[in-house]
Assembly symmetry: C2
Homo-oligomer: 196 residues x 2
């Protein structure tokens, strides 16, 4: 098994979970719907779809009937759904990295509340580590470095501080919802603010 990995696979599984789709459309949605708006090229996407088909995560239906624009529609298999559940339940260090965090958040509506909180808090502590490094480096920098570099570092620092505040709000909102310990069955109910 090729064991295709990474953010792209995760994104594809999540989007196909909603409805079957062909590659061309998947690419657009990855670029626009997933908060990251990271656009993958076809050179990444199409080979990934092949690998995932080989791995049995998705199934390809070739709609190349004569006279009609050729299309290959992909559908999630049972294995694919399992894999998505597996990925969506991960709340370890890997899920607090920039890109991975973005995709995880994009699928939060389908994520358990406990997992959501752990990811949010993990992300925050990851950023707080970064703040430490940045503040230290800024303290040394103010003596040695020119003021353009300083301006850039300060701006970077403020950006991270802003993200921490944003996370604090998300975490607070998340906690305002019904506490997960009360539930017998793990619930993915979103707190009021996040209902559709």
């Amino acid at each position: 098994m090729a064991r295709s990995s990474g953010v792209l696979e995760f994104a594809v599984l999540g989007l196909l979970h909603d409805s079957p789709m062909h590659g061309y459309e998947l690419r657009k949605r990855i670029g626009s719907e997933l908060g990251t708006f990271r656009a993958y090229s076809y050179g990444s996407l199409y080979p990934a779809l092949k690998t995932m088909t080989k791995d049995g995560l998705i199934e390809a239906d070739d709609f190349s009937g004569v006279g009609r624009r050729s299309k290959i529609v992909y559908t999630l298999t049972a294995d694919g759904k399992d894999r998505f559940q597996e990925l969506i339940s991960q709340s370890g260090p890997a899920s607090w990295e920039d890109e991975a965090f973005g995709v995880h958040l994009a699928f939060f509506a389908r994520t358990n509340k406990d997992v959501r909180l752990r990811i949010l808090e993990g992300r925050r502590s990851r950023l707080e580590e970064r703040l430490d490094t940045l503040r230290t480096s800024l303290r040394n920098a103010s003596a040695r470095v020119d003021n353009y570099t300083l301006a850039l570092q300060e701006h970077g620092l403020e950006s991270v501080e802003r993200e921490v505040r944003w996370l604090n709000e998300l975490i607070a909102t998340e906690r305002d919802g019904s506490p997960s310990s009360r539930r017998t069955k793990a619930s993915s109910d979103a707190p009021a603010k996040f209902e559709k």
Copy 2:
């Protein structure tokens, strides 16, 4: 000629411009002094140094005297200085990309005022394009997408808006300095706010 390219080469040239250094230290400085705090691994850095040596941009002096910790100190050659001047003078589209912009800004103290302004303005227009895309995608998104994704997209949008405001300040400060058209010889004088 291998024509080593990219941000890493630029960063190395800029740092060696100040003073000769060995690889281990270069790596740390790239991570901390350059506003981007992007840390390259040795697996990237050491091969890059070899290529640059082959290209004649830097010169390696091996301090492996017996009993002393082995060190290879790199010094900029005349060609290397030329190359750095070439890179630092570029104000085209490539220099408004995230990473490249960071390095360019890190070396702004050695950049001509005209070039500085063109880079700052180019960066701003690049971000304004991104704002357009984001705002459009956000308008569609609010209908179709769950509110977690929405929160992420809104936060992303605000981050870009903040960077634009930051750039506006830098540009204004830059313009407050003596106008470059008055100068016969291009000057790299920093505006008052940015003097050391």
